[in-house]
């Protein structure tokens, strides 16, 4: 049986009906990961032993009539989440030797939900990238075309789920790092409201933008995992003390009458024609399902990319200061003195993109430049948030493409950071405004998946998921597997 063609929800139901054991499922996915899956370079660490132990425990739970919808379902964690006793590398040479002494809250919660940990997925180094090419462990390949990137930074999670190496995986999204790879690999990916999911144990890139989320095969799967991950955490001062709705129970909410605002600024120059056509097709489907579609304008939104590339590097330049070769992580050989220890450990431990952003961030925070860059970016950020707020006075959800093009070729954009950065042009706004946003597949362009994006007001995850669920009941883009991995 092709377990990998099923969704996590379907696997959970099969487990509870005892049609399959968690150990069988786990072995099936481990065999795919360790077999042809190695081609994709989607995993940094495969935790086979841990997975089988988790699976046996889950099987015992199920046999005892206990457990929930995710008990026994294998998943993978992006290698940015700390996992006790397991390498946690952030795909950086800096942490290539780092075994975390503790579990991130997200890991803790998903473990408590009974999931089985298959391994840790490859990513752009410290989540800085849109193609998964900045990883110290090499690029991840897109299962739809292995010469192409899977997107990034959660590229390993995306490739693993798309290729059926794992039913679902966690990701993080600072500027589109869940949604853009989801779009480029044909998955449903959700980045919840800032503060919905604890950041404790998630290695920080840009603290005011980072949010954990899910890459899955369907809105239903995303709902199941998000319910398990969310909630207030006293260890994260920015997590929000607000009850978590049962996202799965809310999936059947009717779509009729939903006011959907099409973001005018997202359909201009730069949007590839095939992608535009597929996304417009999805919009038509929403109309057929009873949505009221209107066009809206968010005039400050085109300033997202420059704003983001001030705020995110500023925060990252400070967040990454702790990687100094003193207490953990990479340390250079035979340092002559303290200065040499710092400069060589960091110089050798970080890759080029990380260094580029640390330098940018250090620059924009420097005396004499702070007002012109950092402060101004914060002001523009407020304008962008205000644009969204105004839009949500008249619509329930905003709609647009997730990425301007389908997956591009490995190596195609690595020498041109600005073009690379423009890949996140549609996703960054939601991060700057702290809003929940989702990408779901809506077509193939020359055999490559493309996705649409929904953005909602704060804490409207249920609405994003139910709207997508309604769409997915009428379409089958989300059920397509890459031909080579079916």
């Amino acid at each position: 049986m092709s377990f990998h063609a099923l969704t996590a929800a379907e696997l959970g139901r099969a487990l509870r009906r005892r049609e399959v054991s968690s150990l069988e499922l786990t072995d099936h996915f481990l065999a795919r990961i360790e077999g042809s899956g190695t081609r994709l370079n989607a995993f940094v660490t495969v935790t086979a032993e841990r997975a089988r132990a988790d699976a046996r425990r889950a099987d015992a739970e199920i046999a005892a009539g206990r457990g929930g919808p995710l008990t026994g379902v294998p998943i993978a964690h992006k290698d940015i989440f700390c996992t006790a006793g397991i390498l946690t590398t952030c795909s950086s040479r800096m942490l290539a030797n780092f075994t975390s002494p503790y579990d991130a809250t997200v890991v803790e919660k998903l473990t408590a939900a009974g999931t089985v940990l298959l391994g840790k997925t490859n990513m752009d180094e410290f989540a800085m990238g849109s193609s998964n090419e900045t990883s110290y462990f090499g690029p991840v390949r897109n299962p739809w075309d292995e010469a192409r990137v899977p997107g990034g930074s959660s590229g390993g999670s995306a490739a693993a789920v798309a290729a059926g190496l794992a039913p679902a995986a966690t990701g993080t999204d600072t500027g589109g790092s869940i949604r853009q790879p989801a779009a480029l690999t044909g998955l449903t990916g959700i980045k919840p409201t800032y503060g919905r999911v604890s950041r404790y144990g998630m290695i920080a890139f840009a603290s005011s933008l980072d949010q954990a989320g899910v890459l899955a095969r369907s809105a239903e799967d995303a709902a199941l995992l998000l319910s398990a991950m969310s909630g207030f955490d006293p260890r994260d001062s920015t997590s929000v003390e607000q009850p978590v709705p049962d996202y799965h129970a809310g999936l059947e909410a009717p779509l009729a009458g939903l006011r959907v605002g099409v973001i005018r600024e997202f359909f201009g120059e730069g949007l590839e024609a095939g992608t535009a056509a597929a996304v417009t097709g999805a919009l038509d489907q929403f109309k057929r399902l009873g949505a009221e579609v209107v066009e809206v304008s968010l005039p400050a939104l085109p300033l997202s990319v420059p704003t983001y590339y001030v705020v995110a590097p500023a925060e990252c330049s400070s967040n990454l200061s702790r990687f100094d070769g003193i207490r953990f992580g990479y340390r250079c050989e035979s340092p002559r003195d303290l200065y040499d220890l710092y400069t060589r450990s960091r110089g050798e431990g970080f890759g080029d993109e990380v260094k580029r952003r640390i330098m940018t961030g250090t620059y924009v925070l420097s005396a004499g430049y702070y007002d012109a860059y950092y402060l101004k970016a914060q002001k523009v950020r407020s304008l962008i948030a205000a644009d969204f707020q105004r839009a949500f006075e008249s619509v329930d959800l905003l709609f647009g493409p997730t990425a301007p093009t389908p997956a591009f070729g490995i190596g195609e954009k690595v020498d041109d950071p600005v073009t690379m950065y423009l890949n996140d042009i549609y996703t960054i706004g939601a991060n700057l405004a702290g809003l929940p946003a989702l990408s779901a597949p809506c077509g193939l362009v020359d055999g490559l998946p493309v996705g649409f994006q929904l953005i909602g007001p704060q804490f409207s995850e249920s609405r994003l998921l139910s709207a997508t669920h309604a769409y997915q009941r009428e379409t089958d883009w989300h059920r397509r597997l890459p031909p080579a991995w079916a």
């Binding site: 503790y102 404790y200 001062s237 990454l320 953990f328 420097s366």
Partner: protein
């Protein structure tokens, strides 16, 4: 233009807040543990960990703000101060920068001439302490102890209102008294719980603009502050009068050599790249909460001193000395309560003989070997005439050394004062008989010999005769 120099000083005092746990983590703040046993993953700056603000530290900072008549900010912001150092685990210190929790306060200090001067407190902000680098213990290597990393500090920044080392000390002592009254800092300077940096500059008297300042780092005793400032002032005068100019820099005071030396110049100074810490939301304090905190403030030193003058009738000096320490004032007031009055007498004993014994043995008033009950017992024996002042001093010393009460000492030593008029008269007559020459001289007008007779009577009674009665009876009997 005047050739006189005016000294301008501003102090940055670091008071370690007396919370049980650290400002952003649950680790203990206790002093003296083995290296790194009080450092958890947050203190070590591990990947993925996040700070969570300690509410008790906020409460303490707000109480300080209220005590100095400052604005306790409705909204304050934690910022990151970025620099690399091995004992700074995250590569940044969490502090407050543009919006501190305490803004614009003031304290009164008493100058040497007894007058009062108002010193402005620009701000007080919350921040975390760094760890310690250990260079001596490990030859050829440096050790890092992160027990202190994350300890809550209140940095109290004065206006440049201080005009001499004496004023600086008076101000620092006043803040020291305040934080101890408020029970927000143990004030222990040896352990570094209370320390300061001094910004020192000089200018020609009458000039409005400030001279270039130097910052002297990490002064951890009142004496060092005074010596360091005086040394720095002398150095700056030498430089300027020798035709040189002052370079803005950070200097370190070396108490061994009694000199300051340059640590780093302005050009070498770090660009700290302060920005709001995105891991911590702005600290928002409810006005009602701030007001409710005001109700928990103890009687503060100035109010206490005022009350000791107006209600107890003490001289301002005595009131100032007693109120400078909450514990000393508490001791004094407890004795007053037990004796039922006699404020000046009690103040004299507390500030005089008792304080001398405390100083001799290097003890704080809380550790006094004579309890308030026992001192009250001694004073009762003075008031009822059992003991003369002189005898009482002797009794107090014995009480101190033997840990006994006044009555037991009086009994054991037979020190009870002689107040029986007939007995004193008998002694006086005997003295007059034994000294006929002096008696004749006195009666012929040598009044100065009165003291001789007093001395002889006291000698004959072993100092136990009541001096008042001796004087009175002697006058009468010598007159014949």
């Amino acid at each position: 233009m005047s050739n006189e120099w005016e000294v301008v000083i501003g102090l940055e005092i670091h008071a370690q807040l007396a919370t049980r746990s650290k400002i952003f983590s649950g680790s203990s703040t206790a002093f003296g543990a083995a290296p790194n046993v009080q450092a958890n993953l947050v203190d070590l700056g591990y990947p993925g960990v996040l700070p969570v603000l300690n509410a008790e530290a906020v409460r303490m900072a707000a109480r300080f703000g209220l005590a100095i008549g400052a604005t306790v900010a409705h909204r304050s912001v934690f910022a990151r101060k970025n620099y690399f150092y091995p004992d700074l685990p995250k590569g940044y210190q969490i502090s407050q920068y543009e919006l501190p929790i305490v803004q614009d306060g003031r304290v009164d200090i008493v100058l040497d001439d007894g007058s009062t001067k108002v010193i402005g407190v620009t701000r007080a902000h919350l921040e975390e302490d760094a760890g310690k680098s250990l260079h001596e213990e490990l030859p050829g290597q440096s050790g890092i102890d992160l027990n202190r990393a994350g300890t809550p500090l209140l940095e109290i920044v004065s206006e440049p209102d201080l005009r001499s080392a004496r004023e600086a000390i008076a101000y620092m002592k006043k803040i020291h008294t305040l934080v101890r009254y408020l029970e927000i800092c143990d004030g222990n300077m040896q352990e570094g719980s209370f320390r300061c940096d001094a910004n020192v500059s000089i200018r020609r008297l009458g000039r409005r603009e400030f001279g270039t300042r130097c910052e002297i780092k990490n002064l951890n005793s009142f004496r060092f502050v005074e010596k360091a400032i005086n040394h720095e002032v002398a150095r700056q005068i030498d430089v300027l009068e020798g035709g040189g100019s002052i370079v803005q820099e950070t200097r370190l005071y070396d108490p061994g050599k009694d000199e300051t030396r340059s640590m780093r110049s302005k050009e070498e100074a770090n660009d700290y790249r302060y920005f709001p810490d995105p891991d911590l939301l702005p600290l928002v304090l409810d006005a009602g909460w701030i007001e409710s905190l005001r109700a928990t403030l103890p009687e503060l030193p100035d109010a206490k001193a005022e009350r000791l003058v107006t209600e107890h009738g003490l001289p301002a000096y005595d009131a100032g000395v007693l109120s400078a320490s909450r514990e000393l004032a508490d001791y004094y007031e407890a004795v007053i309560g037990l004796v039922g009055g006699q404020p000046k007498l009690v103040a004299n004993w507390v500030m005089g003989d008792l304080s001398a014994l405390l100083n001799r043995d290097g003890l704080d008033i809380q550790m006094s070997r004579v309890s308030t009950q026992r001192l009250a017992g001694l004073i009762a024996r003075i008031v009822d005439g059992t003991l003369s002042g002189k005898l009482a001093k002797e009794v107090l010393e014995t009480m101190w050394d033997e840990g006994s009460d006044a009555d037991a000492v009086i009994e054991a030593k037979g020190l009870r004062q002689i107040t029986d008029t007939a007995a004193i008269e008998t002694v006086i007559r005997k003295v007059m008989e034994d000294n006929p020459g002096q008696l004749a001289d006195y009666r012929s007008g040598k009044d100065k010999l009165f003291g001789f007779f007093v001395g002889q009577v006291m000698k004959a009674t072993g100092g136990k005769a009541n001096p008042g009665q001796v004087n009175e009876l002697l006058k009468h009997l010598l007159a014949g």
